[in-house]
């Protein structure tokens, strides 16, 4: 998960809430439970104190009665933590009674230590017991026969606090474990929720990728209501982008048409005129013609650069081009041998592929003697196994070119044989178009004798 991501934001807010709420809830539950246990512990102690007070003080004399000791079996077990003790207060003479569990030990009196009484007249105190562990002591002051005139006795009942603390600690451990598990579960659910919730965004991402690679023309699929507007807007953007390009193309075409017809008229008039003015005009008109086609081609390339990609099947495009070229060069009776690997697709505009192939085939037909070969294969680039390249070779059996000529010919307007018709821009526009697709045009010697032009283009 990246730092700046929707997933992290959603996850972090949810996790923060969980981390805040769970400990708080744990603390509340713990407090409630602790209070509850404390209350019931205190209630038990209080009950024992009341029983022992009633049993020992319900007498007519000034001496307390030995309580029957039936309240709690642990009063019988030595140092069990459960004790009771009846002693006269303020060091007054009188009978001292203790539980068997207390043995010889003496419990301290909260009365001696000036502890206040609660509203039932009971004093509470936590102190270390005879064995060193903390015990809770309750004390009630009463006199035998409940007669205030008699000697006052401190009646004490004690219970082990370590038992209480243990119970609470056990509960705390279990509560913490349970809440931690709930927390982990919640985080897990959050992760799932975020992933699941953001799934449509990944769909958009994939959709856009396939538009860019040219497999799709628009963002398809039913997307959630929240991002449907995004989908609509993206599609509208893609469409308007395409519109702009189409319009630019049309304008460029219109400009070409508008300029070329008068240029044709000027050229023809000038060639009929045999003065120097005539030949100058004819020469300049030719220059204008070359410049126009050069810059129109550049404009077309620029209009196309950065456009969301399209895919052009090679087979169909090549077939109709071959038909056209065969008809144009029907005079020479050149046979075109076409070998195209099935499924070969060019990642780019059909018009551009036609322009590149058309120029190469046209050249080959102009120079070839009897045969022209068009061979297309799909190659996997070694550098990255993902990207595929389309390798299109156009060869002829004509005179071919020397190494120096091949180096020279790519330059703009360079024509090696002025007698063959053509503006001489054919190969340079092919080279420029290929470059605009990050592809390239290379010239080699063909095994059939003539020139071999090889186009390396991105395959889809």
């Amino acid at each position: 998960m990246r730092l700046n991501s929707l997933a992290l934001r959603l996850f972090a807010t949810s996790a923060a809430w969980t981390l805040l709420v769970l400990p708080l809830a744990g603390y509340i539950i713990y407090s409630l439970y602790r209070e509850d246990v404390q209350l019931s512990f205190d209630a038990q102690l209080k009950k024992l104190l009341t029983q022992i007070t009633i049993d020992s003080m319900s007498t007519t004399g000034d001496t307390p009665v030995m309580p029957p000791n039936l309240y709690e079996p642990l009063f019988e077990v030595t140092q069990s933590g459960w004790y009771w003790q009846i002693r006269p207060i303020d060091g007054a003479p009188g009978r001292t009674l203790v539980s068997p569990s207390l043995a010889t030990a003496v419990l301290p009196s909260p009365y001696d230590r000036k502890f206040p009484t609660d509203d039932t007249g009971t004093r509470w105190m936590n102190v270390p017991g005879p064995t060193g562990t903390t015990i809770r002591i309750l004390e009630f002051i009463d006199s035998p026969g409940h007669d205030p005139a008699n000697t006052k006795y401190s009646i004490i009942v004690a219970g082990p606090l370590d038992w209480f603390e243990e119970t609470i600690a056990r509960f705390r451990t279990r509560l913490t474990t349970a809440l931690a598990l709930v927390g982990l579960g919640l985080l897990g659910v959050t992760v799932f929720q975020v992933r699941f919730g953001l799934l449509p965004l990944h769909r958009i991402e994939r959709g856009l990728a396939s538009i860019r690679s040219g497999e799709a023309e628009r963002l398809e699929g039913q997307l959630p209501a929240e991002i449907e507007p995004l989908q609509t807007e993206l599609n509208a953007l893609i469409e308007s982008n395409q519109d702009i390009i189409d319009r630019a193309r049309t304008q460029v075409g219109n400009l070409a048409h508008a300029l070329k017809t008068p240029l044709a008229v000027i050229t023809n008039e000038a060639r009929d005129d045999e003065t120097t003015l005539g030949s100058k005009v004819a020469e300049q008109a030719q220059l204008m013609r070359d410049q126009i086609s050069h810059y129109l081609d550049r404009a077309r390339i620029a209009a196309r650069a950065g456009v969301i990609g399209r895919v052009t099947p090679l087979e169909q495009t090549a077939q109709s081009l071959v038909r056209a070229v065969e008809r144009i060069h029907g005079e020479k009776g050149i046979a075109l041998v076409v070998t195209i690997q099935p499924g070969a697709k060019f990642q780019g505009e059909k018009q551009d592929l036609e322009e590149m192939l058309g120029n190469l085939l046209d050249n080959a037909c102009k120079w070839g003697k009897s045969r022209v070969y068009l061979t297309a294969t799909i190659e996997t680039l070694q550098a990255s196994s993902q990207r595929k390249q389309l390798r299109i070779a156009v060869e002829d059996d004509g005179p071919g070119l020397s190494v120096e000529q091949r180096a020279k010919i790519g330059k703009r307007g360079m024509r090696l044989d002025e007698t063959k018709p053509g503006s001489g821009l054919g190969l340079s526009i092919v080279s420029d178009l290929a470059a605009s697709y990050r592809g390239r045009l290379t010239l080699e010697a063909s095994e059939h004798g003539g020139l071999k032009a090889v186009l390396g283009l991105p395959a889809a």
Binding site: G253, A256, H257, A258, L259, K260, T261, P262, L263, A264, V265, I266, T267, N268, E269, R271, A285, R289, S293, R300, S320, L321, R323, A324, R327, I328, G330, E331, G333, K350, Q351, E354, E355, L357, G358, N359, P421
Partner: protein, 223 residues
């Protein structure tokens, strides 16, 4: 040979008509798509020069409609749109050749001649017929190696017969293919020109087939 020029630019139209007439064609001209379509649909042309960008009806539609109604004359498309995608569209619509503006008139004429020759089934640029030899590139006729001087009407008549050597060509066909639509079509003029031709070349080369028309005696099979 009859040619049709469909081009909306007045100057270019005039230049094309002039150049084709000089090259020995009987030329009709149309300045918009509808007129061009109608002429091509009704008159028997041997070649058509068709601009693509035309008012009222564009060249591609015209061409497609002609081909759909089985008009098979050679059509050379003329256009400023010189991308290969445009050429492919044109060729797929049924064009025989494609010429991008601006062009050299000589190149256009060479292509026109090539189309006319191909349409009548000749592969080479020279058509031979017994002692006669027609060089379609230079529009010259020689008889046993010596140039024959011909007027433009005589040349048109002889060239048409030579293009279609080996078969009988009727007088009506000759009239239809030799004169533009405004010409006064009196078939007697054909006979007058045949008579003049027979004086300039060996008389027996052009045979009269009674009731049917004329035939060049040395067809491709006999030559």
């Amino acid at each position: 040979m009859r040619a049709l020029v469909v081009e909306d630019d007045k100057d270019l139209n005039r230049q094309l008509v002039g150049a084709l007439a000089d090259a020995g064609f009987a030329v009709d001209a149309a300045a918009d798509g509808e007129e061009g379509y109608f002429l091509g649909d009704t008159e028997p042309y041997d070649v058509v020069i068709l601009d693509i960008g035309l008012p009222k009806m564009d060249g591609i539609s015209i061409l497609e409609q002609w081909r759909r109604s089985d008009r098979k004359m050679p059509v050379i498309l003329l256009t400023a749109r010189d991308r290969w995608s445009d050429k492919v569209t044109g060729m797929d619509a049924g064009a025989d050749d494609y010429l991008a503006k601006p062009f050299h008139m000589e190149e256009l004429l060479a292509r026109v001649r090539a189309q006319v020759r191909r349409a009548s089934g000749h592969v080479k640029s020279e058509i031979e017929c017994g002692p006669l030899r027609l060089d379609t590139k230079s529009a010259r006729v020689t008889c046993e190696g010596l140039p024959v001087k011909l007027t433009s009407h005589e040349f048109r008549l002889l060239a048409y017969l030579m293009h279609h050597n080996g078969r009988v060509v009727s007088r009506t066909e000759l009239v239809e293919h030799l004169y533009d639509q405004d010409f006064d079509r009196d078939s007697n003029t054909i006979e007058v020109f045949i008579g003049r031709l027979r004086k300039k070349i060996p008389g027996d080369v052009i045979q009269t087939v009674r009731g049917l028309g004329y035939r060049m005696s040395h067809g491709p099979d006999e030559a």
